[in-house]
Amino acid sequence: MMNKKITIMIVDDEPIVRESFLHWFERLGCMVETAASGFEALEKLKQSAYDLLFVDIKMPGMNGVELLERVKEEYPGTIVIIITAYGSIDTAVEAMKKGAADYLLKPFKPEQLSLVMEKVLNQKKLITEYEYMKGRLEKISRFDNIIGQSGAMQKVFDMIQEVAQSDSSVLIVGETGTGKELIAKAIHAKSRRAQHPFIAINCGAIPESLLESELFGYQKGAFTGATQPRKGFLEIVSGGTLFLDEIGETSPKMQVDLLRVLEEKKITRLGDRCQLDVDFRLVSATRRDLEEEIKRGKFREDFFYRIHVITMQVPALRNRKDDIPLLVEHFIEKYSHETTKKVDHMSRDAMALLQDYDWPGNVRELENAVERAVVLSKSRTLGKEDFSFLRPAAIRTAESQSLRDMEKAYIESVLDDCDWNITRAAKILTVNRVSLHKMIKRYGLIRPLRV
């Protein structure tokens, strides 16, 4: 039996046409309602939802095209089929341009009506599937990508929901590896801008001169090598969300430029005089204490107030250790699936070890550690020995050592582990390569000579 129950409304001023449709659709097992005018149809649409409307073009009061426009504006999900007579084909074409799914020329062959219904049912099926998948994706981003059942993370989840509804600038503050970009993505995914682009830029990883051209775009001939005009991210992101990671690393000049964009909502491409309107929501992230940076004169106060209308604090992993078992379980599942290794357990002492560790690289470091353990493990259970690369010195905080000494020692040990491969070490330390080079220079670290 036909089980795709769809709700239909027939809008026609001729009772005999309404009755004719009514009988036809009853035989199809559809829920059918009729309306004698566009006004009556709009009243009925306020009361109940309809999947499909058959609308006669010629009606007194409000004609079919006017009704179509109102329906598409107020109930865009409702499919409208226009019914027309021989003399009004042009109007039918106009209706198609305004969003009608199809039109039927009165009287029509039974098979034409049948084909239209088939098309509509397929369309409805696609919409239903899309809605289902969208719901699933939302669930995944909420419960899969950002994992945590601790009170601290629940607060973050609640705040994402609230923040997503507004259009204010958001500043996400948290240590490296805490998932600031995931939170920015979640805010975007739940906002009204979700259908538009999400563009993430790591301000610390791009040299200032390049950052300017990447953000603002340029005209042909703006500088040597600008052989073609190019759109900047501020243009490309139109309607969406721009995520500026490591905003604390931007130069004072860039802060001035960005401040002007945020205030005027206009940009000028490099080498151009014309101003272009831009529309985006700014989400920034930093691991620095920006207020401290303002005091040090490294960050502009006016820019700071622009970007932190709403501030979200992301807790460090060491402050939500209750979440470690859940995260470990997730990463084991992820990497055993990716590597097709049958690892599905973790010993108690291994878990205790992980919960004892302070995780300076936060969730990203934990993920890397689990990935490495899964790849190298020879059994289905990860034991303490699989995490021997986590240095005992780093597991227990030595009271005698300063934070600076500990950071230096840790960086050195990671570099040694990676045979001073900067890219690999930077990945484990969850910093970019430029920052790692700066750290090496700052701490005066020297690569040991090979014998």
Binding site: M1, R27, F108, S114
Partner: protein, 192 residues
């Protein structure tokens, strides 16, 4: 249970009437009788469309009392239409008592040639069983291998099997169960 009636409007070949009755009895095990003919519905002729208005005939048909039959199928040789469609093979109200079947288009093949008697008989029987299905509240079925699947034209009708799918058979059996047909006694003639 009262029998199903088959009623000709005007002149209809007796073999056609007997074929319909035999198919209803054979496929649905419902006793079927051919009733005396009714007058040809000349009143339903539409001068603009040169066709007969199925809705008007059905309305008149339903106003007649048929106490002796549980359902009635009227057969006529006239081109039927409903306002929104160019033609219909048959017409019945969902869950009603009376159905109409037109022989006019069933007699012609797609290429315009005249259908042979066996082909015509098979087509009429299929339309009769389909319309009877509607009278027993069956709706159009998605399964193309089911008699309740919608046939948009002669080609579809010729492809349709002369039987109901498993699900429609179950629904039909439920509708024909003695408990459901007890109300025949009280509602008899309500539609007719």
């Amino acid at each position: 249970m009262k029998p199903v009636g088959v009623v000709p409007f005007g002149e209809v070949d007796a073999i056609v009437l007997k074929t319909v009755a035999a198919h209803i009895l054979g496929y649905l095990q419902i006793a079927t009788e051919v009733a005396p003919p009714m007058e040809f519905p000349g009143y339903a002729y539409d001068n603009k469309r040169f066709q007969y208005d199925a809705g008007a005939i059905l309305k008149a048909f339903e106003s007649v009392s048929f106490h002796d039959f549980t359902k009635i199928i009227g057969i006529l040789d006239a081109d039927l239409f409903v306002p929104i469609l160019t033609y219909v093979f048959g017409e019945a109200r969902q869950g009603g008592k009376c159905a109409l079947i037109s022989l006019h288009r069933l007699k012609r093949n797609l290429d315009g040639s005249e259908a042979s008697p066996p082909v015509l008989f098979e087509r009429v029987a299929k339309v009769a069983l389909h319309e009877l299905g509607h009278l027993y509240n069956l709706i159009h079925c998605e399964n193309e291998r089911c008699l309740m699947h919608f046939s948009g034209g002669i080609r579809d009708l010729d492809k349709a099997p002369p039987y109901f799918c498993r699900y429609c058979s179950v629904y039909l059996r439920d509708a024909l169960s003695p408990a459901k047909n007890d109300d025949d006694k009280t509602h008899d003639g309500g539609n007719g």
